[in-house]
């Protein structure tokens, strides 16, 4: 672990990072209007505030609304128009590019592959990672080679093997290859001149059902169209549709919805943390349900991993042994999830969602129904006696 980096490492081509603080100044895709300041010794300032409040208010919601199309095959909402994609990504980090790691940048990678844009122009997150991985791989190969050579030398010194000159020659050749700068200026000149090629963007921004519902019900900034794309889906219809599609395979139209549908559980937690100002993103790659970012993925790594656990403590559920059984999880499950989170330096938070009995939420509006759910957080950290002495 304590191996030193190679001294002759070629310097990374530094590219200027965009000003993320300016780019992502808006935390949500809404317009927020600041009222004029209140000056206590100037009574006219109150009038100015009242005037602005009553007569010069601009609506929070965008005009026209951003649009997305519900897609039953991917069980998500697809956003294809550039204006909506830009708004959702830059203000609040909603959704994921279908062919990218997070920000939809497939088009610039494709343009680079076709030689439309330069080799180091507008590098995407994926490309930066790829370059770093390549470097790391070369370093590992070089390290393995050096270790092998050391053992060979040691054995030769001890007279256990005959020192073969032939065995060293190819490795030193290998060395010169590894340490050579990867690109020489002459090669750069050989690059094809930028061409004018129209590249069709095959990518869309994909919103999970929870994100789409938050944007449409919670913020009112998104209009969700039906699968055919010709009619908007009303918010209450979207809720029942999304609840059915949160199962795999999805439920039939006449299925009875449960108060602990996957969608409702996820949405309660999603809404809870979004309301508290966190940037919430799916955490499938870290074996958690959600990841919490302080400001957003471009600023820092996610600090917390969220596990959603339904809690059936209402007396109604006492008569439901199957659900009660689902409530208790084995220790080894917790250990493995916690280990993965610790490995990537994330704190695990178990979020218990109090599930109300079905008769309590029947016939209620969305807001009243969501109020019946309770959320409790338990943060978990592994304690190592030898390492946590301070």
């Amino acid at each position: 672990m304590s191996s030193e980096p190679p001294t002759a490492k070629p310097p990374l081509p530094r590219t200027k990072r965009p000003n993320y603080a300016l780019l992502h100044a808006n935390l949500l895709p809404l317009t927020i209007q600041a009222l004029p300041p209140l000056i206590p010794h100037n009574p006219l300032s109150i009038l100015q505030i009242l005037y602005t409040y009553f007569f010069c208010r601009v609506p929070c919601q965008p005009e026209p609304l951003y649009t997305g199309v519900f897609n039953p095959t991917t069980r998500s909402v697809h956003v294809t128009d550039t204006r909506s994609i830009k708004a959702f990504w830059t203000s609040g980090f909603f959704g994921k590019g279908s062919l990218s790691r997070s920000e939809p940048t497939w088009i610039s990678r494709r343009r680079r592959a076709l030689g439309v844009i330069g080799k180091d122009e507008a590098l995407t997150a994926e490309e930066v990672t790829e370059r770093r991985r390549k470097e790391r791989k070369e370093f590992k190969l070089e390290r393995a080679r050096a270790e092998k050579e050391k053992i060979q030398n040691q054995l030769a010194q001890e007279g256990k093997v005959q020192f073969e000159t032939g065995a060293v020659a190819p490795s030193s050749e290998n060395k010169s290859v590894t340490f050579a700068p990867p690109e020489t200026p002459a090669e750069e000149k050989d690059q094809p001149a930028p061409q004018v090629v129209e590249v069709e963007d095959l990518e869309h921004l994909q919103l999970t059902l929870e994100e789409a519902f938050f944007l449409s019900y919670g913020l009112g900034a998104l209009q969700i169209m039906n699968a055919e794309g010709n009619k908007p889906i009303e918010v209450p219809d979207a809720l029942s549709l999304f609840r059915k599609f949160s199962y795999f395979p999805h439920l039939e139209d006449d299925a009875i919805l449960q108060p602990d549908d996957v969608f409702l559980m996820n949405y309660v937690v999603y809404h809870h943390f979004r309301s508290l100002g966190w940037v919430v993103r799916p955490g499938m790659k870290f074996s958690v349900d959600y990841l919490l970012y302080n400001r957003g993925p471009v600023f820092s790594h996610a600090e917390f991993g969220i596990l959603i656990l339904p809690a059936y403590s209402n007396p109604y559920w006492a008569a439901d042994p199957e659900r009660k059984k689902r409530e208790s999880r084995p220790w080894h499950w917790l250990h493995s999830v916690n280990r993965v989170s610790a490995q990537v330096k994330k704190t695990l938070i178990m979020v218990y969602v109090e599930v109300p009995p079905p008769h309590e939420i029947e016939g209620l509006g969305i807001t009243d129904m969501l109020k019946k759910y309770g959320v409790r957080e338990v943060s978990l950290r592994r304690f190592l006696v030898a390492r946590n002495r301070d």
């Binding site: 991917t74 069980r75 998500s76 959704g95 590019g97 393995a144 999970t208 795999f248 395979p249 799916p282």
Partner: protein, 138 residues
């Protein structure tokens, strides 16, 4: 084990999502659909070998055979429930005789990539072997 009609109708969608991901995101070639039962599968050749045999010297460039190694993929949904029996059924549906040899010259264990599709369009790939194989050294 049988699949419900709704589940069966979702299989072509999963195939299409993974095929699109392989071609346009991971740069695979010769990606082919196979209408096998119980599950439709995909096969293709990755841009670089994705499985490194633990008995092969990693410092040597990959052989011609390794560069042309066809990998099989099983597209699944993140919320599906799997069991060893269901997995074994898929392995049984794979064709015999295309598996080649490992670095020691023995007949290779069948393997496929489980392509897990999540709602946010993430596709995660996991190797699944039909039995025990020698673990890889990092």
């Amino acid at each position: 084990m049988s699949y419900s009609d709704l589940a069966v109708s979702s299989h072509p969608h999963l195939i299409r999502i993974v095929e699109n991901h392989l071609l346009n995101h991971a740069d695979w070639r010769s990606v082919t659909q196979h209408a096998f039962t119980p599950r439709p599968l995909l096969s293709g050749i990755p841009p670089e070998p994705v499985y490194v045999d633990p008995d092969v010297d990693p410092s040597k460039p990959p052989t011609e055979a390794a560069l042309e190694q066809v990998e099989w993929l099983l597209p699944v949904d993140l919320r599906e429930k799997w069991s060893p029996r269901k997995m074994a059924e898929v392995f049984d549906s794979l064709p015999e005789g295309v598996w080649g040899e490992n670095a020691k010259g023995e007949k290779r264990t069948k393997r496929m990539l489980l392509a897990v599709v999540a709602e946010d369009s993430t596709v995660s790939y996991y190797f699944v072997h039909d039995g025990i194989v020698k673990p890889r050294q990092n």
